[in-house]
Amino acid sequence: MVAELSSSNDFLRAAKADYKYGFHMEEADYTFKSAKGLTRDIVTRISKMKNEPEWMLKTRLRALDIFLKKPMPRWGNSKMLDDIDFENIHYFVRATDIQGRDWDEVPENIKKTFDRLGIPEAERKFLAGVTAQYESEVVYHSIREDLVKQGVIFLDMDTALREHEDVVRKYFGTIIPSADNKFAALNTAVWSGGSFVLVPKGVKVEIPLQAYFRINTENMGQFERTLIIAEEGSYVHYIEGCTAPTYSSDSLHSAVVELIAQPGSHIRYTTIQNWSNNVYNLVTKRAVAYENAKVEWVDGNLGSKLTMKYPSIYLMGKGAHGEVLSIAFAGAGQHQDAGAKMVHFAPDTSSIIVSKSISKDGGRTTYRGLIKAYPGATNVKSSVRCDALLMDENSRSDTYPTMEIDEKFATIEHEATVSKVGEDQLFYLMSRGLTKEEATTMIVNGFFEPFTKELPLEYAVELNRLIAMNMEGSVG
């Protein structure tokens, strides 16, 4: 097998020279690549190729009907959404029949990709388990033996459906039904890959589990499906990262992630989204938190063309707590439309949203959030803080906070700021010998610090490096 690194589209490379993940591999040896376009046949074929039970095929086909019927959202960035050509996308691509348990079992060119992305190295250093998805399916999977012994299940979703069908059937689509929104329907129809995590009662997984998602093919659609169940009193930290080659035409990433935090459990879900700038990233993420459970979405959006993503937490049980801590970075041609939803159903529930965004070179960021407290949710506490930093006059930031509080005695705080990188801050740092670029990077890193400090050290270092790369050559 010959692995070749082809150079990506030169124009885009020049425009986004700092995106170092824009390379792609030859795909001569792929097992299967569906023709472009979405049909009942394709959906049926995906299900058959995976030897799925009948109920899943039915679920998929129902979802397809919903997807086809539902209109495109008329909010967010309608213009960009309308540009998606659903007929120009490969909905299922199987790069290899093999799922390696050892990197040596993974086909050479795919292994090379993940080597370049630093995944095996990260795994050796500080991860308890890894799944690596390449195109539509997971090509590598590992979990530490001691976790297996404690009953922790960490599998790709396809394998989980085969090996733990009852559990998957019990929870699949219960948090995010296919009719939730057009893209949740699309995902349910053509889902493939993603992670399944089950942490048994009382088990604390102290070291993070990581999933890495890589798109390689042009005009690819990646639709992973993730379900995490934390049983009573358990803890898990799940991290996902994603990148794609830079192409001149668009790809689509539309995931569905469902989290279930049973009483007293704690789930932290960290995302570093760094898609290339030709990827639509339209993701539905929702968690339910039962009594005294805690859910945290730590959500970093650096890449993609258009991201629309609003991680939600439904606080179902007394004393449940939810946090969304997100950053968004939008450069030229990018729109990060992100936010959070906290829905309080029970008394004494609390939530915190911190959103930080940076727009530069005409990039656009939007915060869109909801705080909702239903009758009976007494003594709710919620605080929302949105800070936007504009790097130049051409960039844009908007905030759309919604509060619907149907219960008295709630404590709700909301604070929003928009600022510009100040001449005086730059002057102060430059008077200490930092170049304008270094000074800007320091200000930006400081702005993102509340987010960065929540990441494992290795990721924090990587994120700061990514930000520095995004700042290069950008300061005139």
Binding site: F427, M430, S431, I443, G446
Partner: protein, 254 residues
Amino acid sequence: MATKAILEIRNLHVAVDGKEILKGVDLTVNAGEVHALMGRNGSGKSTLSYTLMGHPRYEVTEGEVFYHGQNLLELTTDERSRAGMYLAFQYPVAIPGVSVSNFLRTTVKGRRGGDLPVKEFRKELKQLMANLSIKDEFLSRYVNDGFSGGEKKKLEILQMALLKPELALLDETDSGLDIDALRTVAEGINTLKTADRAILLITHYQRMLDYVTPNFVHVMQGGRIVKSGDSDLARELEAHGYDQIAPELAGSAL
């Protein structure tokens, strides 16, 4: 005393937003010298310090400035810093999210070049902090964010001690300090007084000059230096006020 000129300012005119603030400043500072620049608010003292450090809002409309014989006005702010200039700000700027320790390490590393051995740097830093009566917890706070006036001034002096500039411009470093802090800060400044360095102290008041003795004192008014003398001039000013010392200019100019 050495007579090598570090800074030469000739007929410097500076405008901010089109309004002329400096109207022909001449000043030469030689190695080994401490100069005090005194004057009322609005006399142009801070404008001079910002201009020398290259703030983009301060436009030089006429005149020349040489630093070690080199045209200073051609250099960007960071180049001036790396050439050995330092400005202790009257109003230091907050950089939220950036810890003092990270900030100091980054700036000192940038200045000294190459690797900065962590252990040695830490040792040096701890010593300087002890000299300035700065507590350890200071390092994990964000740069000037929520600092008291005195804390800000101490951080300016700490940075100066680490960066060891050849030409230090101290803009109202004494303001907002209580007497103990003033003494501590003055000691910090005095350790920088060596034969190959120079200091330009900008101040309203005599009190700093009780601790840092200047070789020359200049009085600024209406965008010009109107009177120069030795350290006695500062005491005269303290005793008699600006009106008597430079009566011909009182209330005019600006």
